[in-house]
Symmetry: C2
Subunit: 526 residues, 2 copies
C-alpha cells in the first residue's frame, strides 16, 4: 500500500492533503498516509476516462466479461492481505470480510455472464417496408449503449460490495462506461488494494488506459469536483440522504445536468399485525432483535421502524424485543464518526415528546462500540413529529403503537420513500389489511412477507431502490444485474449499412443474442 | 367548446384569467374564451389524480387497453369538428391534421396492444431455494409498476400527437399513471375537444374519476404549480430548451425531486461527405430543401445544420440547396409568437461573424408566413461562436464548410446533444469516416444513413431523445411503446403469498405473459 491515487495506470500523489484510516477495534490510526487527489489529478483521471470511452464503449461483451472476471480473480489473489486491511479499517470481523468479498466476486461474475451472453442490450429490429403506403418504412434497429464516464462514490458500510469494485463499478464497467472511483476515506487502504486489482486486470486484458481510476479524498471537495466535471456523464452513490442530495443538487445545476443514482437512507418499516404477535410474538422478537443488531445495525435495510396495532399481546412482544436486543453482544461501529452520529441521533430521538426507552444496553463497552436501544412511541406522537421519521443509523429500532388500523394506514401514507417494507401476518388476517399493504407498496421498492428486510439477495428480480429519499431515481435498482440500466441509453440506427452496424444488430446475428425482430423475440438471423 | 377546464369529469371555470386562441391563416382571434385554471382547480385535479391512482394503478392491462382504444374511438368520433378546430388554431392544412390524428390514434392503439398483451412489465421470478447453504434463498418476484400522477405539457407543434392524448399521455395511461394535461395555450380548443373524448372514454369504461384532467393556461404559472405539487410524481414535456430546463430546475428543487422527461431543442446535424455531394449533389439539394421546409420547418427533427468538407462540387451544391429551398412556397407558422421568434433568431444568426446568406425568400408574403433561408459559414467560425449552435426553429438551415476531416471531427465533438445525426455518403467513402461517425453517435439518439431526419416512425426500435439538451434524460425515448418506461419503476415482492401477488407474478401465470423464471424466458406456470 502506497497511499497514492490511481490515475489510469499511474500511481500519483501530487497533493499535500494527507490522511490516515482508523482502526476502531484498536482505537488508533492505521499507518499508511493517503494523498488526497488534486484538481489536476481529478482532471487527468476524467480526461483519461473520456478518451478511454471512445474505445471501451465499443469493445465486445466477451472482452468486457474477461475483464470483469479478471478483476474478480485479482481481488481473490489479494488473499489475506485484503481481509486484514478490510478488518483494520472497519472493525468488522473477518467472516464478514470474506462474505462481502464473496458477494463482490459474485457480482462481478454475474455482470460478466450478462455481457458475455449479450442479450441485455435489448436489441430491437424493425425491418424496412419500402412498399408501404402512403410512406415507405425505414429499417430501424435499436440497442442500449453506454452513457459515458461514471463517477462511483464508495460506501462507508460496504467497503467491498458497494465501493471500489462494488455493484456500481461492476455495472458501469459491464455497460461499457469507464469508472472513476471517489474512494471512501474510512477504508482508503481497502480501496487502494482493490484498485490495484482492477488496474492489474485492465492491463492484462489490454483495456484502454483510463477505463478505471481511483481517487483518494478526505472530505467532500474531490467528489464535488468530479460531479461538476463536464466529461462526467453519470454518478453512482451509496450513503446518507444529506450527501446524496448534495450531489444530486450539484448535478442538477450543471450546464448539462447528468443522472445521479443515489441509494440513500431508509428506516424500512415493518408492520407486525396483531394475530402474528399473539401467535408467535416470542419468535418474532428474537428474529427482529437479530436483524436490528446485525452488523451493528449498519445496513441500509436495517428495520428501524416497527409498526403495530394495540392488542393484548403487544406489551409482552415489545418487552421481549427489547430484552432480546439488549442481550446481544454490542458491536464495534465502522468509525468513531459513525458512532458519534449514532449517539447524537439516538439521544435526539429519545428526547422527542412521547418516546419511551424500552431497553438499552447499559454495561461498560469498549471504545467505538455501540449500545443498542429499542424505543416505543404512540401512533399519534409519530404522526405529529417528523424527527421520528429520520433514520438512526446503527443498532436502533422504534416500535410505534397505533390505536387502530386507520391510524396505521395514515402513518404509512405519510412515510417518506423507503427501500423496503415488511408485513408480518398470520394467513387469516392479511386479507383484512389490503389498504395497508397497498399504501406500503406506494412508499417502498420491495415488499417482504413474514421475513426481515436485512439480507439483500443479488439476483435479477431484486429491487434495491425506491421512492425518494430511499433513492434519487426509483426507476432503477442499485442491486442485481438490472442495475446496468442506470448507465445506458437506447440508441437507434436508421437504414444503417449492415457492415457498419454493431454486431448486436447485424443481419447475421453473429452473437446469437435474443432480439425482438418486427415484434417477435428470437435469436435468428434476419 | 366551452373554454372550461376538465377537473376529472367536471367542467370548471372558476378563474378570471381568460384568453383566445389565434387563427394565423385568417390573422385573427378564434371566438372561444378559455379560462385559465386557478390554484384551487389545479389542486383539485392533482388530488383527484392521486386518489384515482390507488385504483387505476392496479386495474388490469385488458381494462387499460379498452380505455385507450375507447379514447382513440372517441377522438375519431369528433370527426370534422376536430379537424376544423385544429386547422383554425395552427394554420396547418387539413391533410396534416388527418395525418397527425392517424398517428395519435395509432399510438393509443399501440399502447393498448402493449398492455393487453401484458409482457411489458418485465416480470422476473427467482424461485426460493430453502435448502441453499450457507443461507436459504427467498422467493423474489419483480415487475414494473406505475410511478404516480404524471403531468403532461402539450407541445405547440403537435396539437394532437404530442399534446392532450399524445405520446406522453398514452404512455402514462398505459402504465397505470393518471394524467393531468397542462394544455398548450395556442391550441386550447383542440385540447378541449380531445379532453372531452378522453373523459367520455373514461366514463364509458368506468375508470376512476381523476384518471385524467385538462387544465388551461395562458402563461407559465399553471405549469409551475403543477410541477411543484407534492402529489405529482413525474413530468412529460415537449418544447423549447428554456421551457424544459425551467421545469427540470423546479422539479430538482422540490423536497422530493421527481423525474422530468423533456424532449427539447435539436439542430439535427447532417454530415454530407464529399463523394456524395459530387455524385448526387443535385438530388441531395432537392431532398434537403424539402426536409428543411417540411411543415414550415416546425419539426424537432428539422435539419438545421449541414456539415460539409471543402470539395470542388460544394459551391454548386450549396447554390442548388439555396435556390431549391427558396423556390418552395412559403408556409404559415403556428402562431405569431413562433414567427416572431423565428425572425428574431434568424436575424440574430445572420448577424454573426462570418455568416453568409446563400438564399432567402424575398417576395411579399401573407401575415404569419415565414421566409425560408439558407446560410453558410466556415468551420472555424462555427467552432468559435456558440450562438451558431442554437436552434432557429422554422424553415432555416446553415451549411458549415469544414476545411478538412479533422475540423469536421472537432465540430462534432463540440456539438451539444441532439435528437438525430445523419450521414450522407457514398458506399466507398464511408469507411474512411469511422471517427466522424463515432463522434456523432456520442452526441445523438438516432443515426440515419442516406436519409433525412424528419419523419419519426412510431415503432419499438425508435429512439426519440438524446444527450442533453436534446432531452433531459437520454436513458429514455419519447416515441414508441418503449416510452412507457419513463413512468414506471421496478418493484419486488419477497416471499409474498401467491394469492396476494398481482396476476403478472402469480404461479399460474393467468395472463400467459412472457416472464423470466430463474433466468429463463418463458410463459409457463411455475
Amino acid at each position: 500500500m502506497t497511499g497514492k491515487n490511481y490515475i489510469g495506470y499511474s500511481k500519483s500523489n501530487k497533493g499535500t492533503v494527507t490522511y490516515n484510516t482508523f482502526n476502531p477495534l484498536e482505537n488508533k490510526n492505521n499507518e499508511t498516509l493517503f494523498y488526497e487527489a488534486t484538481s489536476k489529478e481529478i482532471a487527468d483521471a476524467v480526461n483519461l476516462a473520456s478518451k478511454a470511452f471512445e474505445k471501451y464503449s465499443k469493445i465486445s461483451g466477451q472482452a468486457k466479461a474477461e475483464f470483469l472476471n479478471a478483476i474478480a480473480d485479482e481481488i481473490l489473489a489479494l488473499d489475506q492481505k485484503l481481509l486484514d486491511v478490510y478488518c483494520s479499517e472497519t472493525g468488522l470481523p473477518e467472516g464478514r470480510a470474506i462474505g462481502e468479498r464473496g458477494r463482490t466476486i459474485g457480482q462481478l461474475r454475474a455482470f460478466a455472464n450478462l455481457v458475455a451472453d449479450g442479450s441485455w442490450v435489448e436489441a430491437t429490429i424493425d425491418l424496412a417496408q419500402p412498399n408501404r403506403t402512403p410512406m415507405p418504412k425505414s429499417d430501424i434497429r435499436k440497442m442500449m449503449i453506454p452513457i459515458g464516464p461514471v463517477v462511483v462514490f464508495g460506501a462507508s458500510n460496504f467497503p467491498l460490495a458497494y465501493s471500489t469494485a462494488g455493484g456500481d463499478t461492476a455495472a458501469a464497467l459491464a455497460s461499457g462506461c469507464p469508472v472513476i472511483v471517489k474512494s471512501h476515506p474510512m477504508h482508503a487502504g481497502t480501496g487502494e488494494l482493490v484498485a490495484s486489482a482492477i488496474v492489474k486486470a485492465a492491463k492484462s486484458c489490454d483495456m484502454p488506459e483510463g477505463v478505471f481510476s481511483n481517487l483518494n479524498s478526505s472530505g467532500i471537495e474531490v467528489g464535488q469536483e468530479l460531479v461538476q466535471h463536464s466529461k462526467v456523464k453519470a454518478v453512482g452513490f451509496t450513503g446518507s440522504i444529506r450527501g446524496g442530495r448534495a450531489l444530486l443538487d450539484l448535478a442538477a445545476k450543471r450546464k448539462e445536468p447528468i443522472p445521479v443514482f443515489a441509494e440513500m437512507g431508509s428506516i424500512n418499516p415493518v408492520v407486525i399485525l396483531p394475530e402474528a404477535i399473539e401467535h408467535r410474538g416470542t419468535e418474532l422478537a428474537e428474529t427482529y432483535a437479530s436483524s436490528i443488531t446485525l452488523g451493528t445495525g449498519q445496513f441500509c435495510t436495517n428495520p428501524g421502524l416497527i409498526l403495530t396495532i394495540e392488542n393484548k399481546s403487544l406489551d409482552g412482544f415489545v418487552q421481549h424485543l427489547a430484552s432480546s436486543t439488549v442481550k446481544k453482544a454490542p458491536g464495534c461501529m465502522l468509525h468513531p464518526k459513525i458512532l458519534k452520529a449514532f449517539n447524537t441521533n439516538r439521544v435526539n430521538a429519545v428526547a422527542q415528546k412521547g418516546i419511551e426507552v424500552k431497553g438499552s444496553y447499559k454495561e461498560q463497552i469498549q471504545p467505538n462500540y455501540a449500545q443498542q436501544i429499542i424505543t416505543e412511541v404512540s401512533g399519534s406522537s409519530f404522526i405529529e413529529n417528523e424527527v421520528l421519521h429520520e433514520e438512526v443509523f446503527g443498532p436502533y429500532s422504534m416500535v410505534v403503537r397505533c390505536k387502530d388500523k386507520t391510524e396505521l394506514e395514515e402513518i404509512i401514507a405519510k412515510l417518506e420513500g423507503q427501500l423496503t417494507g415488511t408485513i408480518i401476518a398470520e394467513k387469516e388476517e392479511v386479507d383484512n389489511y389490503g389498504k395497508v399493504i397497498s399504501a406500503l407498496q406506494n412508499r417502498v421498492g420491495r415488499l417482504i412477507y413474514n421475513g426481515v428486510p436485512t439480507g439483500v439477495e443479488v439476483c435479477q428480480s431484486m429491487v434495491h431502490g425506491g421512492p425518494y429519499p430511499a433513492s434519487t431515481d426509483s426507476r432503477f435498482t442499485a442491486v442485481g444485474v438490472e442495475s446496468i440500466k442506470r448507465w445506458v441509453r437506447p440508441f437507434s440506427f436508421q437504414d444503417w449499412p449492415n457492415s457498419l452496424l454493431p454486431d448486436e444488430l447485424k443481419n447475421e446475428n453473429p452473437l446469437a443474442i435474443s432480439r425482438v425482430v418486427d415484434g417477435i423475440s428470437n435469436s435468428n438471423p434476419v
